[in-house]
């Protein structure tokens, strides 16, 4: 049996939870076993039904007064207990921050290997898998030797799709938590930002070292505001202290997916590119026609961004005015 650990919010699966089940269906097919799912912290019937639509034959729900909020020790303890009791051949979660964190704890508890962010898994006598390295710039094929395969699938490695959609069996799973499992429960939750954020902005105006100064970003701010978007930047800019790290796009920053990414004065290093490549369209503005960002973009303007951006702002304003 393949046990899929589901990510959920309220009484619905998150997109990551749906992806894990979609990925899990293919994997279970290759293994020749059923998909069962685990929901930690809720037994909402809508959630159970949705897991069924996405292919879970059985849904195990673990509820407990101390499982209402997240904690890596508490959640991994539940998964460990499920592994001991349900004896799955493999356990899969989605490679979100939490998914990877919980599975790493489970692996450490069992002293077993854990393969993070797989994009393809071939079960067999010896399992092989392809996983993401360098935030997506490189892939690694590896072999796994384990009693139970502990895996996460890379976020967006598959597009979530419902399966045959049967109402699953619901089983409630009794959990026992120790004091040690409670040390890392979330103490407080603070909500900060409302409105358009960098990961969800329809337009991102990114600036790199070519912008030249912190002040230079005022033109990018103006254009982003005009287009209802947000400013992004490269790591070179963050390291120079011109913009906060929350604006950084890339492997160690934010992954963006706007309708259009306007990348100005950015060379397009691979670590920046992996954060930008989910953009539906890319327009590069650069003095260097050979820059990687230009070569990989859909459109480019060759020139000094300090001349090109004000001209774009003027043109947008002129067309809106008329």
């Amino acid at each position: 049996m393949l046990l899929v650990i589901l990510d959920h919010q309220g009484d619905a699966l998150t997109e990551a939870g749906r992806e894990a089940l979609t990925f899990g269906r293919t994997l279970a097919g290759r293994m020749g076993v059923d998909v069962e799912a685990a929901v930690i912290g809720s037994d909402a019937s809508a959630l159970i039904s949705e897991a069924g639509q996405y292919g879970a034959a059985t849904v195990h729900t673990a509820t407990h007064e101390l499982l209402t909020d997240y904690g890596p020790d508490a959640h991994s303890s539940v998964v460990e207990q499920m592994i001991r009791e349900l004896e799955p051949d493999a356990v899969l979660a989605c490679g979100t921050e939490r998914g990877n964190e919980v599975m790493a704890h489970v692996a450490a508890r069992l002293d077993a290997p854990f393969v993070a962010n797989c994009v393809d898994v071939t079960p067999g006598d010896s399992w092989t898998m392809t996983r993401v390295q360098w935030g997506g710039s490189l892939l690694e094929d590896c072999a796994l030797d384990a009693d139970v395969a502990l895996l996460t699938c890379g976020l967006h490695a598959v597009v979530a799709e419902p399966g045959d959609g049967q109402e699953p069996d619901a089983e409630s799973f009794d959990v026992a938590l120790t004091d040690a499992d409670l040390v890392t429960l979330v103490r407080q939750r603070v909500v900060m930002e409302a409105g358009v954020t960098l990961p969800t902005a329809p337009v991102v105006c990114g600036g790199g070292r070519g912008v030249g100064s912190a002040e230079g970003f005022s033109q990018l701010e103006e254009l982003a505001t005009l287009l209802g978007g947000r400013v992004g930047c490269s790591r070179a800019v963050t390291n120079l202290g011109w913009r906060p790290h929350s604006d950084q796009v890339g492997q160690t920053g934010t992954r963006i997916a706007p309708e259009i990414y306007i990348a100005s004065g950015i060379s397009g290093a691979i670590q920046h590119w992996v954060g930008a490549m989910a953009s539906k369209h890319i327009l590069a503005i650069n003095t260097d026609a050979e820059a990687n960002m230009v070569v990989k973009a859909d459109w480019a303007v060759i020139g000094d961004l300090h001349e090109v951006i004000p001209a774009i702002i003027a043109e947008v304003s002129a067309r809106r005015g008329s």
Binding site: H105, V183, A300
Partner: protein, 258 residues
Amino acid sequence: MRILCCVKRVPAPGAKINVTDDGMAVDAAHLGFTTSPHEECAVEGAVQLVEQHGGEVTVLTLGSGEASEQLRYAVSVGAAHGVLVDVGSSDWDPQRTAAALTEAIVALEQEQPFDLILFGNESADSGGFQVGIRVARALGRPVVQGIKGIEVSGDGSAAGTVTARREIDGGFEVYELPRPCVLGVKEGLNLPRYPTMKGRLASKKVEIPEVATSAVAGGQQRVKLHRPEETVSETVILGHGPEAAPAVVDVLAELGVL
């Protein structure tokens, strides 16, 4: 406060990452090397805590002898000691890496435990998302990942707590851990400083002791590295300089973002 940071030496590729002919490593023949970015912030965070509360920072790495370069860099920005587990390569599997680091930490803690141990959330190259968690569990200490804010209670030593902030969609979560504890931190925790002249001198003089390891291979082994398939698109040049603005705005209008 005694703080330990575990850092990894990684190549610093540019436009793309090349792989060696046997597929077993990144071809770093023409590349510089750096410390994994999350861990650079771990070192900076540790140095700042010590500046506030007193104490000292130790950095530990597992890799080849060349990785002492990254330890020396950490000393140049304020760490006091660097310790190397020289295994000839930093490509050990995560279980083995964690076992070797745990062994080294136990040896370094013979007299006194570290009040806080910092890891990166994930290493820049292999990104296994697990070495810090494995070490923490082996040491029997609480650990939380994804940390972008750290505060310690009291003077930082002995009993007390660490309050850690983790960024989530549209806000953050707060954790409170008893010391000693372990955190996996992310870039954005702070803005790492550049070395001072005094720091550079100290980094040249510092002794880098080596510790041995008996860790054995884990259950995950590399078969080969390869690049993902790329879709090559033809770039349409809309023009040169400000004259291209109308063509740019046509594109924006076409995409419906105007």
